[in-house]
Each structure stands twice: as structure tokens, then as C-alpha cells.
Symmetry: C2
Subunit: 367 residues, 2 copies
């Protein structure tokens, strides 16, 4: 069986590394063969809207998946010609549009921040009236890692915010002074089997995930996150891995966004869960039963951003697992990650505290 | 850095799967691209003695390793042109020749079975006089999984044994009615750092490994195995993973053979140790520090021989890990393996007992 994957980044590479032992083949589609997954699997190179290439991907694949979200739902649907696509395009379409996402949360009674659609300077002004200040103006599409956002602290910010982002469809959202961020990752098969990983606590700096601690022990939050996850998985008749990111505010969860794919905050599952998110995504979309999602010990995952540290001294750290995506260094770019795993949560957190200043000497990031 | 590997079987594939996250590239050399490792990495196809292709492998690699033993030490040395080879060819040469292996054990005072060199019908007769009956006549070279062996129970067997094997250089060895078999796997870096995995207990049927339980808790045996391993690693100034197989006889270890490579009895380390044998082999030969060799829980590894069972029902087993090498089914051929991992040894053994009759309905193999 061949799994076709649109996007050949590190997520795609980790999917292939997890799927090869199951006897599966992979075929990737990306703009360039010089990509993390292109190093280890055959790849079709072309623009993402190229329907001839998408159709070739479909023809040569038993099921199509994607490792990132900014692809054309329409082009993919037209090119697929009946080849199964998982996760469902309905979920991808919602994840691509912050407004549709917010409305989906509302419809499923999943608590989220207050918001309003913005499509003109006047409607931004009305949105600020209704939702209040401070707030965040966001593009509805193509935002990630904090890009395409503008924080409004007073009505004087309406003009510059509109000038910065007004050319795209927008959403204005309540600014929530949340205490911290968590995410939950689940997986569902075609047969309706569901697996849920424990809660992740995520630490961002400059809008980019830097550190995940998992399992994050917070039973009430975990239950609320699981409820939201089950609702979304059933709503979309979902197949594959789905991630929800939440703000934690006054002890409650507010859904921030969904990602219809394996997620950076689940990289720790490679070494820290019985079955990784990557293997379970592949199992689900290939029509296989799920593997156990139980954690093994307590993990910390640290992203390696912008420049790769010299591996040598970190590989000597007992039990540290190193993942080098072999990407060209660039400011703010995710180039790799490393994971540690300990027998207790406090030991895990203590080790993360030791490692962070070595990996991020400029950053005052402390769990 | 590119790791060149002679042989592209399942061991090579698992080396590449372990090395990709470290940012390493692989180049394989085998008779056909239709091999487990050829599915996931570039491959040079040709005969193993083809020194032009071996030289190309050397030119394109930073270090050369091998995933099986029946390759020409001379051709590899000549073709390498100074490219590093690890493990050392001196260890490969000894592993290829049962007589050299036995003499190496003797020289290092590693207990082994009594033996005698055989190069004529008359010397076989003398060897039987000296070593006694029953005994095993073995080819010195190119034997594996019980092939190239003849058991002698009386002097009447001398004639047929010689007729069967006499065309090759031979070794006659005491037949030891051993209680069971164990193996130990260790790894050494160029800097002399050594890591040792816990003892494996191995169950063979028809000369083929079927089941490994690890860690096998037997402290005195483990200490003796570690001593032997350290001696061999230092003796060869070894770099990479080395395996020793032992018979357990009257509570003592008798070294049976060495494998200068990752080993079937160490497949459980993928899910059952902090760092797998595959990753540590790659780390060692790439000049990187070792990862921890500590076990995680208690593992059972079951080989899938001759025909692949339908994956579906086994993947539904909680915490079972499936490895399909995607090889053509053939009687006695290793096509895959599966691993389970439990929190206690007794739970692990109980689950292995449940699984074995399903995977081997014809075999009365019970741990």
C-alpha cells in the first residue's frame, strides 16, 4: 500500500519513518525534492496547485494525506478522482479558515474566545466595539507560528492594524491574558476507533513552539480537552490524527485552533508513548487498528530553531534523542528537535531546565 | 555524513531508519535494489566482489559498514582506499571463520566448546577421537541459521558427514547438551566508550531464531557475558555493535559465535531500550557519543518466518509493534518480527505465550 503525502517536510519524514516498519510505501509531493521527506522517499516536485501532478499522486497512491495545511482543498479534491483522502477535506477546509474554525467550535459548544468577522475598516471598528479591547486582528487564512496577526490595545490601533492586514479576509478576536497553552492530540480510524494522547503543555516564544512537556498532569483540563476532541473527531467523521490547541484561562480551556495532522507538540510521542502520533496517523489512514497511546515515562521536547546546535555534546546527554531535519538554517525556522524522557515529571522538568539555557542561551524560557 | 553499507537487508533498513533522525545519509550496496533497505535509501546494485562498485561505495561514503558477514574482506579492504570501515575487518575475518573464532575465544580465555580443525577424512577421525562423541562437523565459512552443519552421534557418522561437507574447510566441535541460549550485544566508539545491552534469552527452532526475551535476568551469566564482550571489543579495537551468542551449560556460558554487527536478538531494543542497537551502531561508526543502553520494561521479540501473518489482527494487540521487511515469502526466510513490551517480566512472558501459538500454530515453542 502506498501513502501519498502532500508536503514533504519533517512531519512527512517522520510519517514515513513510522510507516516503513509496517510495510507501507510513501510518495511525497512538494515544491522541491530537497526536503526532509524527499531524502528518504520518492517525491513528485511541483507547485501545490498543479492538478496534473496531484492527479499523478492520486493515481500512484492508495490514500492521500498531507503534512501541512496551506494547500488548495479544491485542487486536491478535483485531482483525487476518488482516491481516498484522509484526514477529511472538510476538516482541512475548517482548519484553513480561522473564522470557520471559530464557528465550528461554537456549533459544537467547545468554549473559545469571543470573535467577529472583519471584511472592512468599518466592520473592524464594529468588531472592536463588540468584542472589546485588547484584541487580535488575524488573517482568516495562511497564518502560522504567529504570522499574520496584529494586537490592538486601543482604538488608535484600528487604523494601522487595518493598513497592515486589511488586504486579506480577517477575524477580530478577544485578547485573552491566558495563563498557559496546552494541546491535545487524538486519532480516529475509518472504523471509528479513537485513541487520545495525554495533554501537552506548550511554551511558545515569538509565536513559535519551543518546549512541550507531556504528559501534563491536569485531570480536569484533560477531561475537557478530550470532550472537545471527541466532538470534533465525530463531527468530521475524521480519519487520522487531529490536534487542538487551547489557552488555559482562569482554570478553563479556550479552544484556539485545530490542526488536521500530526503536530509539533506531539513529537515527544516518538520516544515517549507506546505508539507515536506518526505511526497512529499512518495506521488510521491505512485502515489498520490503532496502537496504544499511553505515555512511557515523562517527556520534554525542545524545538531547535534557526540554527542547529552542534549535536555532539547533546547526544552525550543520557537518554537524549536527537532529530535533525537537515534543513537550511534560517531565522525562526524549525530545524530539528530533541526529546528527553524521565521516570518522574519533576525529574523531566529539572532536566528540561538544565538543557534550555544550553539550547537557547538568549531566551529566558523556564518551565 | 554518508554511511555506506554493504548488504541492504532488514538490518540495513533498520540502521537507516535509526540514522535518518540523526541527520545522516545512507548508501547501500547489494545484489538487487529490491531489498528492504533499497526501498528507503539509494543503492548500488552489483555482485559483492565487484571492486569497482565497492570503490564507488567507498568514494561516496564517509564510513563503510556491513549488514551481513558473507562478504569478501580482501575485496572490501582493497576497494576502500582509505575510507574508514567499521566494524574492523579483523573482527569480520574472525567471524567468517569458525576456526579463527574458536581460537580467538581460546586466546582471550573466553570459555567455549572443545573443537578441532578438520581438513581431511583422517583428520576428522582424529578430531572425533580427541573431542569425543556426539559432536558437530561444521563448515568453517558461510554457515548461518544452522546451515552447513552435520551432527555425529557415532563413528559410523564420520563417512556420511565427510561426504556431506568434506569439500569445504571444516571444524569439528563438541556437542554440548546445553540448557538454553543467550546472547549479549555491546557497542564501542572510536573514542573507546562502551555500551552494553542486557542479556537476551534466545529460542531457536530448526536452527532459526524464533523468540527473544530481554532483559533475561541472570546476574552471574550477565557478568560473564559482559566480561567476554569487553575482552573482544578491546581485542579488536572495535567500533560499532558486536554480538556474542552463548550456550548455557551447567550454569556456565560457552561462547558459540560472534556477529560483528547488529543482531536479530537485539531487535527488541527498537522499542525496549532507551537507544536501539541500530542507533548506537550508527552513532559509533559516525563518531558520535553513544546513547543509553538501559532497557525500558520487559520485551519479547518474535520472528516472522516463511510466511507473513495478516497484520491486522496482530496490530490490534495492545502495545504490539510490527515490522514487515516486505520480502518475498520463502520457507525458513525471516520476513518480519514483532515486539511486545510489558512492565514486568512475568507479564511479558505470559503475553509471549499467548502470541506464539497464533504466530506459530505448528510449533511447540513455549518460553
Amino acid at each position: 500500500m502506498t501513502i501519498g503525502i502532500v508536503g514533504a517536510g519533517q512531519l512527512g519524514q517522520m510519517l514515513a519513518l513510522a510507516g516503513y516498519p509496517l510495510g507501507l510505501d510513501f510518495l511525497f509531493f512538494d515544491r522541491s525534492a530537497d526536503t526532509p521527506a524527499g531524502r528518504i522517499a520518492p517525491l513528485l516536485a511541483g507547485e501545490f496547485h498543479d492538478e496534473t501532478l496531484l492527479a499523478e499522486l492520486a493515481r500512484r497512491s492508495d490514500v492521500i494525506s498531507f503534512d501541512w495545511e496551506n494547500i488548495s482543498v479544491g485542487a486536491l479534491r478535483r485531482a483525487a478522482h476518488g482516491t481516498r483522502i484522509a484526514p477529511p477535506l472538510s476538516a482541512l477546509a475548517v482548519a484553513q479558515d480561522r473564522l470557520a474554525e471559530k464557528r465550528c467550535f461554537e456549533r459544537l459548544s467547545i468554549p473559545t474566545t469571543r470573535f467577529a468577522s472583519v471584511d472592512s475598516r468599518a466592520s473592524l471598528s464594529r468588531a472592536v466595539d463588540r468584542v472589546g479591547l485588547p484584541g487580535v486582528l488575524k488573517t482568516r487564512r495562511f497564518g502560522y507560528d504567529g504570522k499574520g496577526q496584529y494586537v490592538l490595545r486601543s482604538r488608535a490601533d484600528i487604523e494601522p492594524a487595518w493598513d497592515a492586514l486589511g488586504s486579506a479576509p480577517l477575524l477580530y478576536e478577544e485578547f485573552v491574558p491566558f495563563e498557559y497553552e496546552v494541546s491535545i492530540i487524538g486519532v480516529r480510524t475509518r472504523a471509528g476507533e479513537i485513541g487520545v494522547y495525554p495533554l501537552n503543555r506548550n511554551y511558545h516564544v515569538d509565536g513559535i513552539l519551543r518546549l512541550t512537556l507531556a504528559p501534563w498532569i491536569a485531570p480536569a483540563l484533560a477531561r475537557a480537552a478530550q470532550r472537545a476532541l471527541h466532538k470534533l473527531l465525530e463531527h468530521f467523521n475524521y480519519v487520522g490524527v487531529l490536534t487542538i490547541e487551547f489557552f488555559v484561562h482562569r482554570g478553563r480551556l479556550l479552544a484556539n485552533e485545530i490542526a488536521p495532522r500530526v503536530h509539533n507538540s506531539g513529537h515527544w510521542t516518538i520516544e515517549g508513548a507506546v505508539t507515536s502520533q506518526f505511526e497512529n496517523h499512518v495506521r488510521a489512514i491505512a485502515g489498520l487498528p490503532l496502537g496504544a497511546t499511553a505515555p512511557r515515562g515523562h517527556s520534554a521536547m525542545i524545538n531547535l530553531i534557526g540554527t542547529m546546535p552542534a549535536a555532539h555534546s547533546f547526544l552525550a546527554e543520557p537518554g537524549l534523542h536527537w532529530h535533525d531535519y537537515r534543513k537550511e538554517p534560517r531565522h525562526g525556522r524549525k530545524l530539528g528537535h530533541c526529546t528527553i524522557n524521565e521516570s518522574t515529571a519533576s525529574r523531566r522538568t529539572a532536566r528540561a531546565k538544565q538543557l534550555l539555557p544550553r539550547l537557547y542561551p538568549q531566551l529566558a524560557l523556564r518551565p
